[in-house]
Symmetry: C2
Subunit: 465 residues, 2 copies
């Protein structure tokens, strides 16, 4: 064993075995949290911010003209809310555009179908016989070449659940389906929307084509249209024309927009609250994710109004282009790769506008007590401590992979996938009282994390590749 390795092993043994001091939250901070919680419940900031973003900017597809307006909006809103520092960090990505989309059943049952292109789909018009598969496994089992010239239709129905667990298999159809269909020879791909509603508003979302494959037009049918196509297929062969005008067009530079409330005693240490600024283009991105922007901006703003600054800084990151692959979250993690230990806890609000019902952190044992203390402070909001559950939000994932400890404020997502990535994701679906409960939960969490004496286990790590 070379000396350097020996040294490293010794250091590791030292650090792994040393029992870190237990992290605790001092009593005065807990008392202040109770006041903060009540004040936040009566505060309309989260609603006002959500209303402002969805109304004034509306849909803000990454790379669109509205993306730039949203970046300017976020900077102005941070300033208006009294954040001490406001800055931007560039995020560059390929730009995808949707221009037009339609689908028709041809022949004796001719009729239109409500479809939307999957993000990343190429444009093009395909006309072919539809072959239905109950799920991804059935498509996977189709013989090679069996779909030559045909349109694959994966008719998997996503299930609604408070914790959104149905999105795993539902989203997998979108991410893996097109490439699987291409491998079988398909000229086009249709899927039942990864959504739990029954409206004629299909759910978009990003897809990826495996390297080496020639992408084909790929779209989601609204649930009633998937029902209709399935009924027609029970009657005999069905030909469909799918016409998409969309595609990739160069690169674009957007920005993570960051606002910070400077801490009083350990300003270099930050509690990071994230949400994403971009949205899909079909709706105004109210539950995905203007609500998250409203909740996190409001939480920091409420803390800013307290008689005394938090010990640590509260940093709110409005991430660029989450929807097309966590581009903002990845960029932030790379840029701040060496600063993991300074990011005491990080969390993202990106699961709609439903009430928070559970809390946890990914902190190690020495910070369990502090996690419990935060959970106790959240309990009057109807939030339960959920040890062993949760994980980082999407844009926090890249940070967590680099060693930053995550916190998890679980929102009730029972209705989230009624709206997610559809034209129906608009402000009228947001309940101002639920939003205030979220704002209160995030304010209390962030305040206590910023006041904790001791850390939550964040450390610089090398992400697995």
């Amino acid at each position: 064993m070379p000396r350097l390795a020996l040294l490293a092993a010794a250091l590791f043994a030292c650090c792994a075995h040393a029992a870190p001091k237990e992290t605790r939250i001092p009593a005065p901070a807990l008392e202040a949290a109770a006041q903060l919680r009540e004040r936040a419940l009566a505060d309309a900031t989260a609603w006002q911010v959500t209303e402002s973003l969805t109304t004034e900017i509306g849909p803000r597809l990454a790379g669109s003209e509205a993306d730039a307006r949203a970046v300017a909006w976020a900077q102005a809103k941070f300033r208006e809310l009294g954040f001490d520092k406001v800055w931007t960090e560039p995020v560059t990505f390929p730009k995808w555009e949707r221009r037009a989309e339609s689908a028709q059943v041809l022949g004796p049952h001719a009729q239109p179908l409500a479809v939307t292109a999957l993000g990343g789909s190429p444009g093009g018009t395909v006309e072919g016989e539809v072959v239905r598969f109950a799920d991804l496994a059935a498509l996977e089992a189709a013989p090679e070449g069996s779909l030559a010239g045909k349109i694959a239709f994966v008719d998997y129905r996503m299930e609604a659940a408070r914790d959104g667990r149905g999105y795993g298999p539902g989203g997998a159809v979108r991410s893996r389906g097109p490439s699987l269909a291409i491998r079988k020879g398909a000229a086009g791909f249709l899927m039942r929307s990864a959504g739990t509603d029954s409206h004629r508003l299909p759910h978009t979302g990003i897809t990826r084509f495996d390297e080496g494959l020639e992408p084909v037009p790929s779209a989601a049918l609204a649930n009633p249209d998937a029902d209709q196509l399935a009924r027609l297929l029970e009657r005999g062969p069905v030909r469909v024309r799918l016409a998409l005008d969309c595609g990739w067009d160069g690169t674009y530079t957007s920005y993570n927009v960051i606002g910070e409330i400077t801490g009083r005693s350990r300003p270099q240490e930050v509690v990071l609250l994230g949400a994403h600024l971009d949205s899909w283009d079909l709706g105004t991105g109210a539950v995905d994710d203007a609500a998250g922007i409203g909740i996190t901006m409001a939480a920091a703003h409420l803390i800013r109004q307290m008689p005394r600054r938090p010990a640590r800084s509260i940093r709110v990151v409005a991430y660029a282009n989450e929807e097309q692959g966590l581009l903002g979250g990845r960029a932030y993690a790379e840029r701040h790769a060496g600063e993991a230990a300074r990011h005491v806890l990080a969390a993202e609000s990106d699961f709609g506008a439903g009430r928070v019902y559970a809390f946890n952190t990914g902190a190690p044992e020495h910070a369990r007590k502090a996690t419990e203390q935060i959970a106790q402070a959240l309990a009057p909001l109807g939030i339960e401590y959920a040890p062993g559950e949760g994980g980082p939000g999407p844009d926090i994932g890249p940070l967590a992979a680099r060693g930053v400890t995550w916190a998890w404020l679980a929102q009730d997502g029972s209705d989230y996938f009624h709206l997610h990535h559809t034209a129906d994701d608009t402000l009228d679906k947001v309940d101002p009282e639920a939003l205030a409960q979220n704002g209160a939960a995030w304010a209390v969490f962030a305040w206590l994390a910023a006041e904790a004496e001791g850390d939550f286990g964040s450390h610089v790590a090398t992400p697995a590749r």
Copy 2:
């Protein structure tokens, strides 16, 4: 007083004062009705017919290619269901087409708005400042010429109710709004949809422009988009571009499709059950009015299967082009103008697929007992007798004006205007059990009306002009 008038007066006095024999339903017919009711509740015909029409034909705008397919479908379905006679009667009308439609907010808050052209709107692109009016009265109060070059926006919000009473003022915005706006100088017309949902699916429906006015592009905004436009207007002036590609294009001849179960003893007398075969183009016309077609076809089919034919004939009329002005209903009434007395009772099912909750007829006093007897037979279905309430369905109006007595089976319309005239009017919104309850109610009603000894007051009358 000329002699002819004297004679008429004498005749009127004679007929008005003679006490007609009380109409009664014989006990065996009532016993058979109880069996019919139970059999109908377990029968899936109404559902199957509704499924077939919405799936195989889909949207069937009057005058479209699908209109002709629907006419052929209806004839085939009547035959398949064992109707004794099936025939068509031509209905000619101007043809209106929708090709494309869009609207955008312009300027610093640029974003699309979900709109749909009102039926009858001309095509064209208008761009102008939006002037909001809370309701029709506010628009009416605007000074002449005050809307020159502008787009009027009537932001009236329709209220949901079981009996659909909110549609009176809601529908009036659609029928009267455009002409009112033109009189004030408007270049375009926008309205909050006459609908009670909050989805991005605007409600279409026919409008009329007063004679002598130059029609302007007229469209309805989805409710969330009307909310959005109102919020933007609170912030300052808003310019919108409304682009409609639609309009009138020649005339078209469709058909009322009629099926009849021949009565055993008075086959020339008919109980008329109506529904309309056409639909708007946005949805598949499931609740408006495939459900009515399913309910009335099923009711007659169930009667056809009874051990003994009804005394009178049961006639089901699948009306052409109800949506653009009761064209089929008017044509039927004119063609059968001299036969009012032979139409013992007439009713239309055209208020969705909700359960029937009330029953009444427009019969005079001598048929009150028979009306009550029908109501008693309907009571086990959760249907109450509602004396003094109700009226003829839309396509029955022209017949009623000519002296035919109407019957009324009131459906629960609490959700009807969530779907009415939108893309969301699809089969998944229909509850098979509620549809079977409707089928049972209509079968029982039609059977008893056909078995009644005595009339319900139908007589040849001259409609008021």
